[in-house]
């Protein structure tokens, strides 16, 4: 039975480490901005801050490494150690799928940067930290990540999503966008191969296509009892159809979330994904798969811990010079990793645990509802910080509503089904409770 104190400790540690990383990044951005404006700072500290700020989002390695550190710390508290060779779906998710996604995301970004980024600072003002630092203090008070997202991204030292392979289609016909840096707008669009943006998508497709077979390897889901009969290939065709459909849906789901993150740029997508992963954890726990659900808790906590400080800055709740512009550029790497984690845990919960298809589908698709705010409440050019916060809250509220519904239903079912296990009341007709069958922490669940 669940040990809630242990879960709380793991969630707290993972969330705190992730939040500390986000705040460290923000402080480095602030120091970089102020050291560029004045020469009073120690040069080594300014260099260190610039280095951290540049590598946090730009190649994505540092931000993702910090996230991984937070998650591993949470697993350490929960004593979750994946076994090698991996024996079940959860082992394969923790040892193969998530690290492969982590490496794949970084590789795609690094390849995209090296291939498509103009690295000459004279021709590429957004990759010059001095330009960024000089321009930031003036532009930040009016900085609105939604109404003027491009201006924020340009100050992101090469993290600009326009430089990433995912946003090249949006970049090409839009070189005269009013929000673009004037020197960028004057420049001719980069000459790229027509299929260039599809290379990243192809890489994502291959990664997505490998998730389902990897997680289900050796399980009953990939076994066909008998291939005799008039249609021996039908079971395999059904499996191939389901696999193709889920792969396509995953690719669209991830790309939608990534674009939403770029558009909103206020941490709401990361927060929504954190809530969805947390709900997936609860569904798996309530289904009776304790280790599987517990392993997802530090992931949700780390995503939330990293997203909330950025959301606080991006929505204007906290004002820190130099941070808002960089932080609100949209961290698509974390969103991609979170999308893989969410899909992975839902597959494990559905195929190996007791999570139903409907709650799993609702949990998977709920983060997309964050986009509904833009349809219901179109962005206006000038808005106050309160309105930005209101939009952020509206996005999270829309996502949280179905998630809360699903979580409540799952908890009620858990209460009905496992009440004898978690209760000290004796089983009807006997003088003892089933809770006594399980380790002592079982009773702390109540």
């Amino acid at each position: 039975m669940p040990d809630l104190r242990l879960y709380a400790a793991a969630i707290g540690l993972a969330g705190a480490i992730a939040a500390a990383g986000a705040i460290l990044y923000g402080l480095c951005c602030a120091v970089r901005a102020s050291s560029a404006a004045s020469q009073t700072r120690a040069r080594w500290f300014a260099r260190f801050s610039t280095c951290v700020a540049n590598t946090w989002f730009a190649p994505g390695c540092l931000g993702l490494a910090w996230l991984a550190l937070a998650i591993i710390a949470g697993w350490w508290v929960l004593e979750i150690t994946p076994r090698w060779p991996p024996r079940n779906g959860l082992d394969r998710l923790l040892i193969l799928v998530l690290p492969a996604a982590w490496l794949g995301i970084v590789a795609i970004r690094v390849v995209a940067k090296n291939r498509f980024l103009d690295r000459n600072p004279d021709r590429n003002p957004e990759s010059n930290p001095e330009n960024d630092a000089d321009s930031e203090p003036d532009s930040e008070p009016e900085n609105d990540p939604e109404s003027n997202p491009a201006s924020n991204r340009e100050s992101d030292d090469g993290n600009s999503p326009e430089n990433s392979v995912e946003s090249i289609p949006a970049n090409r016909p839009d070189s005269s966008h009013p929000n673009k840096h004037p020197r960028v707008a004057d420049r001719a669009p980069p000459r790229l191969h027509t299929l260039a943006p599809w290379r990243g998508r192809l890489a994502w497709g291959l990664l997505a296509a490998s998730i389902l077979p990897t997680l289900l390897w050796g399980s009953v889901h990939l076994r066909v009892e008998s291939s005799d009969g008039p249609w021996p290939l039908v079971p395999w065709l059904v499996r191939a159809g389901v696999w193709t459909l889920l792969t396509l849906v995953f690719v669209v789901h991830r790309e939608w979330l990534e674009r939403l993150e770029q558009r909103t740029a206020d941490g709401s997508v990361r927060t929504a994904l954190a809530l969805a992963v947390g709900t997936a954890a609860q569904l798996i726990l309530c289904g009776g798969y304790l280790k599987g659900g517990a392993a997802a808790l530090p992931v949700a906590a780390a995503l939330l811990g990293g997203a909330l400080p950025i959301a606080a800055v991006a929505t204007g709740a906290i004002r820190l010079r130099g941070w808002a512009a960089a932080a609100s550029g949209g961290d698509t790497l974390v969103v991609s990793l979170a999308a893989v984690a969410l899909a992975g845990w839902l597959v494990v919960g559905t195929c190996f645990g007791n999570v139903g298809l409907l709650p799993a589908a609702v949990t998977w698709l709920a983060p997309l509802l964050a986009a509904a705010v833009d349809w219901l409440w179109p962005a206006r050019p000038s808005r106050t910080g309160r309105r930005r916060l209101g939009r952020w809250l509206a996005r999270i509220g829309l996502v949280a509503l179905p998630l809360a519904l699903v979580a409540t239903v799952a908890f009620r079912q858990f209460e009905q089904k496992y009440r004898p296990f978690t209760s000290r009341d004796p089983v009807p007709g006997t003088t003892r409770s089933i809770a006594a069958d399980f380790p002592a922490p079982a009773r702390s669940a109540r």
């Binding site: 076994r83 079940n88 959860l90 009953v220 798969y289 069958d437 380790p439």
Partner: protein, 197 residues
Amino acid sequence: MRSMLSMGGWKLGAVALAIAVCSAAADSRAADEYAYDLVHSSVTFKARHLDISWIHGRFNQVDGKFAIDRQDPAKSSFQLTIKADSVDTGNKARDEHLRQPDYFDTKQFPTIDFKSTAVKAIDGGFEVTGDFTMHGVTKKITFPLMGGKEIESRGVKRVGFSTELKLKRSDFNFDKSAIGAIGDEAIILIDCEGMRK
């Protein structure tokens, strides 16, 4: 003369081959094959609870076959396949919990299998050595299989065996967190009947 000899050699070879085939057939007939009788058999288990009492359960779906060679017991063989999904402890919620990856992980490891590799006769039965696979881990185990007496009832020949296995769950990679108040050691009791016509 040569042709007669060659003809004679050919016939001799054919006769030798026929004898070999017949003796092989006789050998194969020497081992009586029995199918597992699910109705009159049971695979149950028990584990210590808080080291003061026992929790009992059973597996409802079991399949298997035996080949018993009375003349040469070493040629006997035993196979048993237990469907882990059929675990039954008398409580539906607990059974569902036991099917989860925290315990039997029945979607990943749907069966518990035993296949003998060596059999020798002992007083009152056989000593069977074989590969026992549970939770994806295979261990070689040896246990006494008592019984083996054959009777005929309503035209069906039946043979019965009983044994008791002591296994440690930790040896089969069960999750540490799943080993707590319920003891690591589990005792599996197999009482089975085989039948042949």
